[in-house]
C-alpha cells in the first residue's frame, strides 16, 4: 500500500504513514511538528494523499486533516454545544435534516446527547475534549491529529474514545496522537520517538518500548507494566512480555 502522509523536515526527520495506522508520537519536538503541519514551513515538505501542503490549497487539505488542539479547548465558535458541533457541517453546506440526524446519532456514541443544549463553558474538561473530538470527526476527515488532549479525559471516557478511534482506523483512517504520557502509547499500534530534530526510533509499540535504556535516558519513561516486565526479564524470572496483570502474575509464580 502506498503511503498516504509523507512528511519531511530538514534532512533527518522523515515520517511516512499508511491508511489504518494509529501512531503515537513522543519526544520534545511535538509543538514544532504540529506548527509545521498547521502552517507549513520553509524546510518542510508535506504530502497528504497526492496534494502538497501549501498556502493556496489549505482548504482542500483541511478537509482531509483535522486537528484537536489543547490551546483551543476554551475557544468556542458557537454558543451551545450543538452549534459547536454543527459548525463544520454548516460550512460544508449540508441540509438541515441531515445535520440534525448526524449530530443525534454521533453524540449518542460519545455519550453527549444530554448536553447538547448547554453552554460549552459550563462543561467539565472531559466533556469538552469529547465535544472537540466529535466536532473534528463529524466532517469525516482522513487524518485526525490530537495534541496532548487525551490526558484531560476521565478513565471511562478514555477507553470509550480509544475504542472510537480504533474503529475510525479500521475504516481506513489515520490517527496521530502527540502525547507526553507514555501510558497512552499502549493503545496505539506504532510509536515514533522524535528528539532534538532526529527520529530516534520508530516501529511497533512493543519493539520500541523494548529499548528501555534510550527511553529512560531521554526522560520519557516506560509504562508501568512494561517496566515491570523489563526488570523481571533482566533478573531472568520470565522469558517474554506479559502485558496484563493476570498473565504476569501467572508467569512469575510458575516456577
Amino acid at each position: 500500500m502506498d503511503d498516504y502522509l509523507k512528511y519531511r523536515f530538514g534532512t533527518d526527520v522523515e515520517i511516512n504513514l499508511k491508511e489504518k495506522d494509529f501512531v503515537s508520537i513522543i519526544g520534545n519536538m511535538n509543538d514544532l511538528l504540529i506548527y509545521t503541519l498547521l502552517f507549513g514551513h520553509k524546510k518542510c515538505n508535506i504530502f497528504v494523499g497526492d496534494k502538497e501542503v501549501t498556502y493556496k490549497n489549505s482548504y482542500e487539505i483541511r478537509k482531509r486533516v483535522s486537528f484537536v488542539l489543547y490551546q483551543h479547548l476554551d475557544i468556542f465558535v458557537g454558543e451551545t454545544v450543538k452549534d459547536e458541533i454543527a459548525f463544520g457541517l454548516e460550512s460544508l453546506a449540508l441540509k438541515k435534516d441531515d445535520i440534525t440526524n448526524l449530530i443525534q446519532s454521533e453524540s449518542r456514541l460519545f455519550k453527549l446527547d444530554e448536553l447538547l443544549e448547554r453552554d460549552p463553558n459550563s462543561l467539565g474538561s472531559s466533556d469538552k475534549v469529547k465535544m472537540k473530538i466529535l466536532s473534528s470527526m463529524i466532517v469525516k476527515p482522513k487524518i485526525i491529529i490530537l495534541d496532548n488532549v487525551i490526558s484531560e479525559l476521565d478513565y471511562n471516557d478514555k477507553l470509550l474514545v480509544f475504542d472510537i478511534l480504533n474503529e475510525f482506523c479500521k475504516n481506513g483512517g489515520i490517527v496521530i496522537n502527540f502525547t507526553n504520557d507514555i501510558e497512552d502509547t499502549l493503545f496505539g499500534d506504532k510509536i515514533i520517538v522524535i528528539y532534538d530534530k532526529k527520529v530516534i526510533c520508530e516501529g511497533k509499540t512493543i519493539s520500541v518500548l523494548n529499548e528501555d535504556k534510550i527511553l529512560k535516558r531521554l526522560g520519557l519513561g516506560l509504562p508501568f507494566i512494561v517496566d515491570l516486565n523489563k526488570y523481571f526479564m533482566d533478573y531472568g524470572i520470565i522469558d517474554k512480555y506479559q502485558l496484563t496483570n493476570e498473565k504476569l502474575v501467572g508467569a512469575l509464580w510458575k516456577k
Binding site: 467539565g124 490526558s151 476521565d154 507514555i182 508501568f224 517496566d227
Partner: protein, 281 residues
C-alpha cells in the same frame, strides 16, 4: 497559616434561574499544617471550587470556610490580600493566569503592589525559575506563546516567588512526561520536609498522588465520598464506580493477593520489585 476547615459548605451558581447548578453539596473536613493532601475525582466533581473557596475567590452559599485566622462565609474579609499572599494557587489552565507581555513581568507582578521590598529582585526571579527547572532565557518570551509544559512551570514559579505556606495545584500533572513528574515529586518533597508547607493536589492521576500524598479525599459529583490514608485507594470497585483509574501498583498487588501471594502495598516500583523477588524465591 494554620488549619483549613470546611463546615457544611454548599455552593450553588445561578441560583433561582433555569441554569441553576450545584457544585458542592454539604462538604466538611479539616486539614492540618505541613502535610500533602490530595483530592481525587473525575471532572465536574467540584474540585476547582474547593480551591477557589480556600483562596477566597468565591463565597459559599451556605456554610463557612476557615483558613487560619480568616473566615470566608459571605461577609467581607478584612485584609483578604494577606490571605491570597499566603496561598499560592496554580490554575488548571496555566494560560488563564497570564496577562503580561513577558515572563519577567509575569513573575514579578505582585511585588510592587505588596510592597515586597527585595534588594536583589532579579536574583529572586532567577531563583524561582531555577526551582522549577527553567533558565534565564525564558524571561523575555511572551507567556501566551509558550508550550504547555513550560507554561505550567512558569505558572508555578509565579506562585512560589512569594513563599506561600499553602500551595494548591489544580490538575498539574496532565500532560507532563516522566522526567518532569519525577522533578515535581522531588520539589514537593523538598517543600514539605524542608519548608513545612501544606500542599493540596487536585487531580485525576491516582498513580502520581498515590506515591506522594499523605491523606486522600475521594470526590464524586458534588460530595466527598470517602476520606482516609492510602488504604482507601486499595478498594478497586469504589474507584471504578466514581470513574477514577485504579493506581497501577494497586491493581497489580490486588491480582497477586487474589492468587494468594503475600505482597505488601508498596508506593514505588523499586520496592515492589524487591518484594516480589523475595516472595518468588
Amino acid at each position: 497559616m494554620e488549619e483549613i476547615e470546611f463546615n457544611n459548605v454548599t455552593f450553588i451558581i445561578n441560583e433561582k434561574t433555569p441554569l441553576e447548578k450545584t457544585i458542592l453539596n454539604d462538604v466538611s473536613f479539616k486539614m492540618e499544617k505541613g502535610k500533602i493532601y490530595s483530592f481525587l475525582g473525575a471532572s465536574n466533581s467540584g474540585k476547582t471550587a474547593i480551591a477557589d473557596l480556600i483562596n477566597a475567590l468565591i463565597v459559599p452559599t451556605y456554610g463557612s470556610v476557615k483558613i487560619g485566622n480568616f473566615i470566608n462565609d459571605g461577609r467581607r474579609i478584612k485584609n483578604v490580600n494577606k490571605l491570597r499572599f499566603d496561598t499560592g494557587y496554580v490554575f488548571k489552565n496555566p494560560y488563564d493566569m497570564f496577562f503580561n507581555k513577558t515572563v519577567k513581568q509575569e513573575i514579578a507582578f505582585g511585588m510592587k503592589y505588596f510592597n515586597y521590598k527585595v534588594k536583589k529582585k532579579s536574583l529572586r526571579i532567577n531563583d524561582a525559575l531555577k526551582l522549577v527547572g527553567l533558565d534565564e532565557s525564558y524571561l523575555k518570551l511572551n507567556p501566551l506563546r509558550l508550550t504547555l509544559v513550560d507554561a505550567k512551570k512558569v505558572a508555578l514559579a509565579c506562585t512560589l516567588i512569594y513563599n506561600p505556606s499553602i500551595l494548591i495545584l489544580d490538575e498539574f500533572t496532565n500532560g507532563l512526561n516522566y522526567s518532569d513528574k519525577q522533578d515535581l515529586l522531588h520539589l514537593l518533597k523538598l517543600l514539605k520536609n524542608k519548608y513545612n508547607k501544606t500542599i493540596i493536589l487536585l487531580s485525576k492521576d491516582t498513580s502520581f498522588c498515590y506515591e506522594i500524598a499523605d491523606y486522600f479525599y475521594l470526590m464524586h459529583l458534588t460530595k466527598i465520598v470517602k476520606e482516609g490514608s492510602r488504604e482507601i485507594l486499595h478498594d478497586e470497585e469504589l474507584l471504578k464506580s466514581i470513574n477514577l483509574e485504579v493506581p497501577k501498583i494497586v491493581s497489580f498487588v490486588n491480582v497477586c493477593k487474589k492468587k494468594k501471594h503475600d505482597i505488601d502495598y508498596y508506593t514505588n516500583i523499586h520496592d515492589l520489585i524487591k518484594g516480589v523477588y523475595r516472595d518468588v524465591f
